[in-house]
Assembly symmetry: C2
Homo-oligomer: 355 residues x 2
């Protein structure tokens, strides 16, 4: 059993912990957290061993009456590997600690690519992380684009990709973020950093991305154009995407109009925290104009990188090859939205909370 320490128990860290715990070949050694808040209490209630970031912080946990096993340095010593889910930039600082104890680590996409030996997406470049000591799982948006581009590149060849990323302003637990009632080019310059980040996975790919931020918290939405090297048939392209285990092609008869209904669908399906680990590509949006492929896809920013973190661990420790690891992860997490076709009655409007 691979003993995995989770350094940083926020949006990503707590989800990675739950995902690792459900794997047959991994166990959670413990989770390290900065603040003794409700999330720390939840970690203890979930049965995780809790660690404070450092000695100074440890006192705050004890004062709050929260039982800790030590500091993150202790966790690094006791774990076979660390998944670093601290805020962007902190992970790079932490690498020194991991190297000090010769502990391999997985970093998240908010770190610069140089933090690790390779950037990682299970679908596109699993083998690049085979036996690697430091691996960076690319961000939610880059993961979403990589999953979509891999089958298109393999089957048609990609001449050029142009994507507009309509980004959620913040997560539901980030009340300090905006915008409110605004639409921001973010960044104003073109291309956004997402294009170059996709190139850490596909070094030869021609891609330009434009980023926009809007007042929403549930998911990102991508408007994607891919000029292919051959002319695809719409039905074949759709079948191609439907065959991808981490792409959920939203059927027309589901009547899912946006991100809110997608997340509600996931909640109804019993997903933990209502998470959607898959890209959600609207089937109706898959279009072809000459060699130009188009689609809309929604990306759950809190969730889509979670299975990738699990697969990155397997690659680093050479536990399973790509196909097997992805199958194991999918089965244990329950990536089966595709197998539960929505059966909504054609009712126009139903009763919400009548407050």
């Amino acid at each position: 059993m691979l003993s995995v320490g989770i350094n940083g128990y926020g949006t990503i860290g707590k989800r990675v912990a739950d995902a690792v715990r459900s794997q047959p070949d991994m166990t959670v050694c413990g989770v390290a957290k900065r603040s003794p808040d409700f999330v720390a209490e939840s970690a203890l209630e979930a049965g995780y061993q809790l660690y404070a970031i450092d000695d100074e912080r440890a006192d705050a946990f004890r004062t709050a009456g929260l039982n800790i096993e030590g500091t993150s340095a202790d966790l690094v010593v006791e774990s076979d590997v660390i998944v670093d889910a601290t805020p962007g930039g902190v992970g790079a600082q932490n690498r020194t600690l991991y190297e000090q104890y010769d502990t391999p680590a997985v970093f998240q996409g908010a770190e610069t690519p140089t933090v690790a030996d390779t950037s990682f997406n299970a679908r596109a470049n699993f083998d690049d992380a085979w036996g690697a000591e430091y691996v960076r799982v690319v961000s939610c948006n880059t993961t979403g684009l990589s999953r979509l581009l891999a089958p298109l590149a393999e089957n048609y060849g990609v001449e050029k990709t142009r994507a507009t990323l309509i980004r959620r302003g913040g997560d539901p637990d980030q009340p300090g973020r905006g915008p409110i009632n605004d639409i921001l080019p973010d960044p104003i310059t073109v291309p956004s950093h997402h294009g170059p980040d996709v190139q850490t996975i596909f070094p030869e790919l021609s891609i330009d991305t434009m980023g926009v931020t809007v007042p929403a918290t549930l998911m990102h939405l991508h408007g994607v154009n891919v000029t292919l090297e051959s002319t695809p048939d719409v039905e074949t392209a759709r079948d191609l995407l439907e065959a991808e285990s981490r792409i959920f092609v939203v059927p027309k008869d589901a009547r899912i109009k946006g991100c809110g209904e997608l997340r509600e669908f996931a909640r109804d399906a019993g997903r933990p925290r209502g998470d959607i680990w898959e890209n959600c590509v609207w089937g109706e949006s898959i279009s072809v104009d000459g060699r130009d492929f188009y689609c809309f896809q929604a990306i759950h920013q809190e969730a889509d990188v979670i299975p990738e973190n699990v697969d990155a661990l397997r690659a680093m420790f050479e536990l399973e090859r790509a196909e097997d690891s992805v199958a194991t992860t999918n089965e244990t997490l329950g990536l089966s939205l595709r197998e539960r076709p929505p059966e909504r009655s054609p009712v126009i409007s139903e009763q919400a909370c009548d407050d």
Copy 2:
């Protein structure tokens, strides 16, 4: 003096009335309105002759104590021309009334193109409306795209245009519209109706558009890609757009990050209702990758078609040729954002209402 009746006194109608009134060669005959609400009171206070939509509605106005001159049929008789600013689809129904009294009319972009002899954008196809009896001013988004594409097409040739339109969910005076905290592919299918609508102005243009709707009310934002027939230089392309009288190239040192600050800038500049009649193209966003041109532009959905309505009237009655009409309209309305470079001090954050 051209006597102009305004049928429909909502978001567009009241702005067209104010714009027509400020022209040297036009006068407002009166405005027709459906409901005796605060907007009707404002019309009277602004000095406009008020008309009810029909006899039945006339009683409601009298009951509300609002003085009316008659019904919209009376307005059609008394006017040289009608600007129809009723909700989409109603204009087409009204055409019968206008024909009955042999009164020419301008329709808005929410009508289907077949409502009129030609669709219209002052920059791109002014002459098509020369002497025409029925003209349709294309929608806010199509107007914005047409103004941007005209100079690019003339100077470089356009091989293909791909645009993602991030649309505001509703105007500030539309409390019943959504979404709240959602991002909607709207429509889900590709292309959206905007591409074909641009082709009513540029029949030969290859264009694919994707529509998205978000929780904002202030402006639309367009992420635009234009594959040109020749390779542009960034500086030259920027100079080209800066020379357009209805494009405001947002300077970098203005530190304008989104639609909210653009509208605040217009309010500070004393614009009526804080309106922005120009396309707002972020200078920093103008980019070139090979023959691919990119930019972000914000479009004030309530305002950008207003000068176009005025110019359409001049074309229909052969009052002035394109260049002269645009100059007259711009001067009377005050399209001079470009001449008022923002002089903000580099303060990171200033005090908002401390409620």
